[in-house]
Symmetry: C2
Amino acid sequence: MITRSSKLGHICFVGAGPGDPELLTLRAADRLRTADLILRDILVPDELIAATGARAQVVNVGRLCGGEETQEARLARIHAWLIEGYREGRRIVRLKSGDPFIFGRAVEELQRLIEADIPFECVPGITAGIAAANLAQIPLTERYTSPSVLFCTGQTAGGGTDRIEAWASLLRGGTTLVLYMGLKALAHIAPRLQSAVPADEIHVSAISQVSAPGQLVVHAPLSRVEATLSERPLPLPVVFILGLHAQPLAERLAQPLAPCANHE
Amino acid sequence: MITRSSKLGHICFVGAGPGDPELLTLRAADRLRTADLILRDILVPDELIAATGARAQVVNVGRLCGGEETQEARLARIHAWLIEGYREGRRIVRLKSGDPFIFGRAVEELQRLIEADIPFECVPGITAGIAAANLAQIPLTERYTSPSVLFCTGQTAGGGTDRIEAWASLLRGGTTLVLYMGLKALAHIAPRLQSAVPADEIHVSAISQVSAPGQLVVHAPLSRVEATLSERPLPLPVVFILGLHAQPLAERLAQPLAPCANHE
């Protein structure tokens, strides 16, 4: 027999950050510690949940690689856990890698809650690109020379010639590009970008397994990035940072002045 | 007489997040708690430092509004604190609003440390745009319809017609724009953007004092944003989110279907 609480529950969408438990926010750590039920993505490491002292039931709601579950069936499963748990008075954390609103697809999961008039809380997380920038010491913006930063995905990269031209225009203007899930995509876009930008001046840093003990950083000018990565294959996931200054600061400052250095 | 420690110190550039102490990362909170010296920006609230239990000496190194200190003098003052503190064996936190590498100008402060071969650590922070998205429940990306997100500043907005065209092109393609320090800039760019995009379909959310108890969210279509903001002036700082879906989810779902909803 299930005893239903007369009290309604609490639903919280939490950004887990890039993986290192120390990069959780204090609020995220609190919500995990006090949860009864945690619905986790595949990319979130078990150690992160354990490090918070969580005593909750943990359910993997990520789609398993090679699994047969459709996206719709998966969403229905998540909604059932959220809505039933809420009605049973449970404190539920929907734990998403990085940040819920940056490539986290939170909207699809939140839509039914809004339709059912069920309240929820959202807790931001450190997104992998920003963690990578800090841990590898690669600036994403700089006064005068890098006025803005675009976050995009490998999936986005499939968008044809228009998108490549837009990206090339941003890169030429100094905007930094942060590319998620882009290892395969880079093989397609690097040759096309190379013909549209000064490919020796645009740097590419690849950061593998951001914030994990095995984090690796490889960097090369865009003109040589494919050769460099084929010599040194990187474990997934990999985040790419592309731009006029997209190399670790210490290496950049050890080199002859870059073409833009006179603006600084 | 100053007793110099034989041990060298530790320098850590820390992202403070948007202001709410609960949005510090666990690592940031630890570095603040164990610091001997905290060099803080003006935008970081005193309560945030106090909430970590920090016992450090706290020095404001931000440029005071209306102050006469030049940017060079200010940088020299920061470098002196960092380098002397390091040689005295102190644990120093350079506390920056948001994230050090997103509009944080960390590079200028780090350059001299690298030249002097002084090691440092960087701890990412929740940048105001991502906090605003979560706290106001406004998605920054969405599968199919919002493939990427650009972070830019009002300063950037001065960049002439080319930049407006690039932004308009991104907005038309579904990219979300997050505009920092843009209240004045919006008055310049809104009319110019309006003539380059379908201004009734592009939404603008203004989030004032992100994560503070006084946080306010106002939203309107781009075509009406100036009128809306003149009716309801917002306290600074304000972050703007612009895009096809840049409105709080609950309001969006309460309305008739937007033109893009059939893709979802």
